[in-house]
């Protein structure tokens, strides 16, 4: 434990209290000034600008007047962009559909992901150490792969005639769907088939991440606790349900929020696999922002949508902070 050598930090902080020496001050000032200036320009400015844009009818195709081109041909419209979200217009309908799509996606991905990763982690924990590493390495492979490549791969797997998936379905004697990604009428339990197809591909790519976190958490549980339960005659199921799961609670909460946050911001896999279709059934919020800002050049409206996404994300981030403050120790 290196930090048992305590005196040094204490000495440093005593020195710090009496103020930095000239050389130290020059170093801190010289390094931090450009770094902070950079962050003000490339982080703080975009944050403020993003909020501001939502109150303007801004398009980069019009040369506005005033600061940052906000004004003149790009007028201030107050809350009009936000009011327009409730209107009966085509863009507003697509926006509301995008909100529904984003939540549908996130709320299916989360339980599906947990239902796969948690049991799989327990299984991997139970096997021999050398195999454990191998399984973990293989399962993590899709996670490090380019999302674009995964989307292209799965687009081909879903191909109605030449795709592997339909071939396998036919092989076992079932009738596969005519088109996984393009049939707007194929809806199961209120969820479009194209959405289901993308969810499967997304979970395939993403599950390794939560798996690794669960395995690490399982390894952190002291063996004595499980051994004690075993001595008391608990079967593996009771051991999991009454010992492992309660001890995993903090990790479970962390993983839930993180999975939720990242699936709310999904874009690439939808853009490449379905491009939002059929009939906007698979348009998530980020695609809605992207399309409005960079295809229709309607950046004020797109910025307002981004603010709604920010609100949703911040809500979940705050929940995360509340949950992570709870007791971690066991």
């Amino acid at each position: 434990m290196t930090h048992l050598a305590v005196p040094a930090p204490v000495k440093t902080s005593a020195k710090q209290r009496s103020g930095l020496r000239v050389g130290q001050r020059a170093f801190v000032f010289g390094a931090m000034t450009p770094l902070m200036a950079y962050m003000l320009f490339f982080s703080l400015l975009p944050m403020i600008w993003a909020v501001t844009l939502g109150f303007f009818d801004y398009s980069p195709t019009r040369a506005g007047s005033g600061f940052l081109g906000l004004g003149g041909a790009n007028p201030f419209v107050g809350l009009d962009n936000y009011r327009a979200m409730f209107a009966e217009t085509q863009p507003a309908r697509v926006f509301r559909l995008a909100v529904v799509n984003t939540f549908t996606f996130a709320l299916i991905v989360l339980p599906l992901n947990l239902a796969i990763t948690l049991p799989l982690a327990v299984l991997i924990e139970s096997v021999h150490d050398r195999l454990k590493g191998l399984f973990r390495a293989i399962y993590f492979l899709p996670t490090i792969s380019s999302a674009v490549a995964v989307a292209v791969m799965w687009g081909y797997l879903y191909h109605p005639q030449q795709g592997l998936l339909n071939t396998l379905i036919k092989l076992v004697g079932l009738t596969p769907p005519k088109a996984w990604l393009t049939d707007p009428r194929a809806v199961y339990f209120g969820v479009p088939l194209a959405m289901i197809a993308v969810i499967i591909a997304y979970v395939w790519q993403d599950f390794g991440y939560n798996l690794v976190i669960f395995i690490a958490a399982l390894q952190g549980i002291p063996h004595e606790i499980r051994d004690a339960a075993r001595v008391d005659g608990a079967n593996p199921w009771q051991e999991f349900w009454n010992i492992t799961l309660p001890l995993l609670k903090p990790t479970l909460l962390f993983v839930c929020v993180l999975t939720m946050l990242s699936s709310l911001q999904v874009f690439v896999i939808f853009q490449v696999m379905t491009n939002g279709g059929p009939r906007d059934q698979t348009t998530p919020l980020v695609m809605s922002i992207y399309e409005n800002a960079f295809r229709y050049q309607n950046m004020g409206w797109a910025a307002a949508i981004a603010m709604i996404l920010l609100l949703i994300i911040l809500t979940f981030t705050l929940i995360q902070f509340r949950l992570l403050r709870t007791d971690w120790e066991y």
Binding site: T12, F29, A50, M153, Y156, L164, I213, H223, L309
Partner: protein, 292 residues
């Protein structure tokens, strides 16, 4: 036979091998191997498809193993008359390499200062960095684009590098790591007359190996796989990075699956190699930092 191996994790194991226990063990391995198949088969299918001739691709039902093995698709991509493939590899490597080098430098420098110095405005500056962790790129991509337009960096590889030279998460990670390094070494160097930057460069940096490796690999993979920002910034074909090239192939040669699958393999390959080499760092990094 693997089911009979004792587990090293618990002193109580192995339990007696009752028939029931043998059954649950084999069931566990069956599920795990099924999972391996589901994980690997898409990759294998893509690789095999990329090795088929174009005429075999259109067959219904498709073949799993190529009837005729060929490197045609790769040759087509490599010999593209307009822009050679090396160009796109260079673009991706240039952007990813620059971002790794710059991010490692700025993160370790700022992390060191936050960990070991006290200065005016430190708490406010650090709070600002924590706020940045909550602001995701998708929220600020519109003004980020407009800033790039004003700087004249649209459709330039520099436009992919310059806006992300300082990484809030990297600073945070480095600060956590450097705080655990004892200050004695730095004090000793100071007494020996080393400059403050010299202390950072020669004393602190060499001790950051694991942290630099973790941050470097994640930055590399994140940049290599990045799609949304290059999609917004880059418009000229020869400045595309590999993921952009892949979607371009996908839209240009939508039915030539031999080509798109070969292009997918070419995009996946460098990251797979990095993964095989640094697997330990990557998996441990995820487990330790919760980095996504």
């Amino acid at each position: 036979m693997t089911t009979l191996l004792p587990s090293a994790t618990s002193p109580l194991r192995p339990r007696p091998l009752s028939p029931r226990r043998v059954f649950t063990r084999s069931a566990a391995y069956t599920v795990l191997l099924l999972g391996v198949a589901v994980t690997l088969v898409p990759f294998i299918w893509v690789l095999l498809t990329s090795l088929k001739p174009a005429s075999e691709i259109v067959k219904v039902p498709p073949t799993f193993f190529p009837q005729e093995w060929t490197l045609q698709s790769y040759q087509t991509i490599f010999k593209d008359p307009k822009v050679p493939l090396a160009r796109f590899y260079f673009n991706s490597l240039f952007v990813a390499g620059s971002r790794v080098a710059i991010t490692l430098f700025t993160s370790s420098l700022a992390g060191y200062i936050f960990a070991k110095y006290k200065f005016w405005g430190k708490n406010a500056a650090f709070a600002f960095i924590l706020v940045q962790l909550m602001i995701h790129f998708q929220i600020v991509m519109i003004p980020a684009y407009l800033i790039l337009v004003k700087l004249g960096l649209i459709d330039s590889l520099w436009g992919l590098i310059i806006p992300s030279m300082v990484d809030a998460f990297g600073i945070f990670l480095m600060r956590q790591f450097i705080e655990s390094i004892p200050g004695e070494l730095m004090d000793a160097a100071r007494i020996d007359g080393a400059s403050e930057f010299g202390i950072y460069w020669r004393i602190v940096l060499p001790q950051l190996g694991p942290a630099l490796a973790t941050l470097g690999i994640f930055t590399f993979m994140g940049t290599w796989n990045d799609y949304l920002w290059p999609l917004i910034v880059i418009t000229t074909h020869e400045r595309r990075t590999l993921p952009l090239l892949l979607t371009w192939y996908n839209s240009q040669h939508g039915t030539r699956y031999d080509l798109t699958m070969a292009a997918s393999i070419l995009v996946l390959l460098p990251v797979l190699v990095a993964y095989v080499l640094f697997q330990r760092w990557i998996v441990r990094g995820v487990a330790l930092t919760g980095f996504k």
